[in-house]
Symmetry: C2
Subunit: 337 residues, 2 copies
């Protein structure tokens, strides 16, 4: 299995990307194709290229984080993002992982791979891994347009299928992110989406409120991309505040108790919590509903997050989820026609 990795995307590219990719090759035994500046990648990957049989694809262009996604994708065919998605389209790579401009990755995925038949809009499913135990999938987090209830129904179907086959959950519990638990709550979009979800045949168990997101009472949380994006980033920001507090505490603590040099967060059992809140450690989000495997990593990803995102890509390929979605949706499209 060859996984293409955007070595030019993200705040910590290319160094952390290369580090994470090498770690993934070692840990998961996958073949890696690095996409970026060939000369630089040769220096960074060094003798690991031969040892791990890394492939390197030259990408002369970079799409910056703030570039207009569609325009950038159309005018930069030699960017790492476009080349990476094309490797998937051409069957060279089984998946593409990028921490670059999310909008551009989505656009490039759409243009190059196309939507699954019957899907109006692909969705970004992000795993929330705040508490221990299995994570919850928040879908959608692509934030560029208004949603209709039919989109949310499709997000629910996509998310449910993804989680079912990735995590072996027989009937994923689907909830709708809303302002109250009762039916009839929320804005018009959510009220109408609730009605559709109730009749969907999915294991839809009602609304979920913001305070319960981390309570593990849902396997899939469905929302529109605007709300999803804001909620994800809010969690991110609070996580940052939390981690900063913990670091301060570490210093205060070592001074007060003369324990300098110990890993206090670890001693305190807070290390894993801090890590879970730190999106630099996240595994990435999957773009579902297109004909190919694309994993979007956080722009601030460091080596470990890239390694984890490649792990998620491998699992997504292993479980053949893209084919399952395509066939499942094809059946549904036919039978409902």
């Amino acid at each position: 299995m060859l996984i293409a990795v955007d070595a030019a995307g993200g705040e910590n590219a290319p160094r952390e990307i290369v580090k994470g990719a090498i770690k993934a090759a070692q840990d998961y035994g996958v073949d890696i194709a690095l996409v970026g500046n060939k000369a630089v990648l040769h220096v960074l990957a060094g003798r690991d290229i031969k040892k791990l049989n890394l492939k390197i694809f030259e990408a002369k262009d970079i799409i910056a984080p703030n570039e207009h996604p569609m325009r950038a994708v159309k005018t930069k065919p030699n960017s790492s993002i476009v080349i990476g998605t094309n490797l998937v389209r051409d069957g060279v790579a089984s998946a593409f992982v990028s921490a670059g401009n999310t909008g551009a990755v989505v656009c490039s995925g759409l243009l190059s791979l196309g939507r699954v038949k019957g899907i109006e809009r692909p969705a970004l499913g992000s795993f929330l891994d705040i508490t221990p135990s299995t994570p919850t999938l928040l879908i959608d987090a692509v934030a560029n347009a208004d949603c209709r209830p039919s989109h949310l129904l499709q997000f629910a179907n996509l998310g449910s299928t993804y989680v079912k086959h990735l995590l072996d959950i027989e009937e994923p519990r689907v909830r709708l992110l809303n302002t109250g638990e009762e039916e009839g709550k929320g804005n018009r979009l959510m009220q109408e989406s609730y009605d559709l979800l109730k009749r969907s045949g999915l294991n839809f168990i009602g609304n979920i409120e913001g305070q319960d997101i981390s309570n593990r009472t849902a396997d899939v949380i469905v929302t529109d991309g605007f709300t999803g994006n804001i909620v994800l980033k809010t969690i991110e920001g609070i996580g940052d505040s939390f981690i900063n507090s913990l670091r301060q505490v570490g210093r205060v603590f070592s001074t007060a108790y003369h324990l300098r040099g110990r890993d206090l967060l670890k001693d305190l059992g807070l290390g894993s919590w801090a890590k879970k809140m730190d999106y630099r450690e996240y595994g990435g989000a999957c773009l579902v509903g297109i004909n190919g495997n694309i994993i979007v990593a956080h722009g601030r990803s460091q080596a470990k997050a890239i390694r984890n995102a490649i792990g998620l890509a491998k699992q997504t390929v292993d479980r053949d989820i893209c084919r399952i979605i395509r066939e499942g949706n094809h059946d549904k499209t036919n039978s409902s026609d």
Copy 2:
């Protein structure tokens, strides 16, 4: 100054409400009118009634947290919420504080006190007090209907005026909660609201993303009630997880370091952070844009949050913000006509 307090609303009513009201009477020197079951309140308040000159108003009915707001307000004229808002309408009380059914408080405030001329929809402004330094106002968090761009412009005006006069900030920095910093980001509502805000004459300094909510780069964060409600509750949920983790840590820590019996969170300097994240400590949110002062406290409020909410009510009355909004808006309505 007499402040009416809903002694029947919220998860911890009436005991914690009475405790908080007594504390507020002592700390702020305000007169308190408790609204609820007279017999019970006499038992709970005991000799403080005489000592602090507490007033008690009988309310035979209670509006439950999940009752349909408008229906409940219309069919329960003897509920603590309706009686409390009527005390403000009749000039008996200067403000009303309630931890009861938020929707019902908003409806009752609207029906009883009416909207300020020119305001289409009143808004709930909640202070986010996650980090030290002065708090940020998130407006709106009333979650029952779809917003138009003109609503968001009004929320911005209301929030800006409120913060300016409550916190003595000359030109409050207003930002729009959105999915990216650049103009043109977000859904249609946010794109059109951005245009209106740019031309508003307010100190509008652009979009703010979720991860920056706690960064103190805005004095007023404007959003629609749906998004505001979900963001507030998400912060709440993460705060809960955080506090639970800290408690666990406290236990692990005392066992590991043989420090049983010490207030470890306090020792660690995390106590204040935990408190800031704990909405049981919050001071409440102000319903702005109606002809009277209504403070909504969290349904899970304990004594301290009620005390703080009464403090916010006192400050709102002291600063005469309701009149300022009315006159300011009246001027604006006239001049723009």
